[in-house]
Subunit: 223 residues, 2 copies
């Protein structure tokens, strides 16, 4: 059995959880707060980041969400999510990077710092200037998703791919932290609503991070 | 012919240049300053980052350095650089992420901001506190490379891989910007010296970014 080291609001762990669920790979969740820099965890990953996934019976430890997803794409045939011709696969990976790096850097990362880490770790109040900037940039990212959804059935093309999972993972954390104003983003909202109904997504929506509560629409699949 | 949009001190473009050279793919360099947000460039990559690589005859544009490298791994057989069993490939990708994200975030990114962007774009002096912190973290990364080189012939295992290219790309930019103190890092230094002598690396070492000069040892392959 695979053991996934993660915490509920880690967007990269969420991407891996969605990926494993869509591919039918069974796994257990192990709670890890990477900011505590637990020795056993840093031994597994010197970068001290979640997610890490291990399989003791096979003697395998995998680190980095993209490396993990590529591994399961290579080893599990069911439901390929980096699929198609080489240029199509490059387009999927471009969008995964866009959400992992730019959406996270602009939106999810600042929201996690201000609304989760400052509360749980530093016992400080969030900086409203940083929150406003993150929410402003979130609009620009949602406009780009509107544009993609207007031109393609799924974000990277004709079929669901890792790009959709990466986007939904970031968006779900930003939404949990009250950082998204969906007004005027009907296309992005309709794409995300479909996604929220998938069996792979339901466990994420039901989960809560201690102390921090999401807005009422967060877990509502009919919203 | 492939056209690579890049600027001389972009570590992600350097990784792609090394990768293409090692795989024997011909390409032209096109100078792009991503901070200028040139319209034609943002049309190619909404994230407005280098590298971007295009091939007009084939009608292909590829974005994101990891997506680009995966594309050429999939389409060019010569000299595979993400090679081996699935766990070995995951180890290569883990290290690529470590250098692209952690080394860049801790060292190359702050150095580029303080010593290149502040000079060329903002006309400001570098913040010596930020530089000191980047150089301190650089030591920790060099210690990790010392450890890897002590236990393996190349960073990810028995053969040269994309992990070596990603590390050398980040290190070469940090070294150009005077951010590395090699004292006490004999293993990392010997690995890097071998790398500097490779034909793929020589064009990078000969290149200069306007206004900013590297330290005297930077381009010296016998140092």
């Amino acid at each position: 059995m695979w053991q996934l080291y993660q915490f509920p609001l880690c967007p990269f762990s969420r991407k891996v959880r969605l990926h494993l669920a869509e591919k039918g790979v069974a796994f257990e969740l192990w709670r890890e707060n990477p900011w505590e820099q637990r020795d056993e965890f840093v031994d597994k990953n010197p970068a001290a980041r979640t997610p890490v996934i291990g399989n003791a019976e096979r003697g395998i430890t995998l680190v980095d969400s993209r490396a993990i997803c590529e591994y399961f794409e290579e080893t599990v045939d069911k439901n390929p999510l980096i699929n198609g011709t080489a240029p199509m696969r490059a387009e999927i990976r471009r969008l995964v990077a866009l959400f992992d790096e730019n959406f996270f850097g602009d939106v999810t990362g600042p929201l996690l710092h201000e609304r989760m880490k400052k509360r749980l770790v530093y016992r400080q109040s969030p900086d409203s200037r940083v929150l406003r900037e993150a929410m402003k940039l979130a609009h620009e990212h949602l406009y780009y998703i509107d544009y993609l959804v207007d031109t393609r059935p799924w974000l990277a093309g004709a079929t669901m791919s890792l790009a959709d999972l990466a986007a939904a993972a970031q968006i779900s954390v930003a939404d949990y932290l009250g950082g998204l104003d969906w007004t005027g983003h009907e296309q992005a909202k309709s794409w995300y609503s479909v996604f929220k109904s998938r069996p792979s997504f339901r466990p994420l929506l039901a989960e809560r991070m201690e102390v921090i509560q999401p807005p009422s629409h967060y877990g509502d699949v009919n919203w």
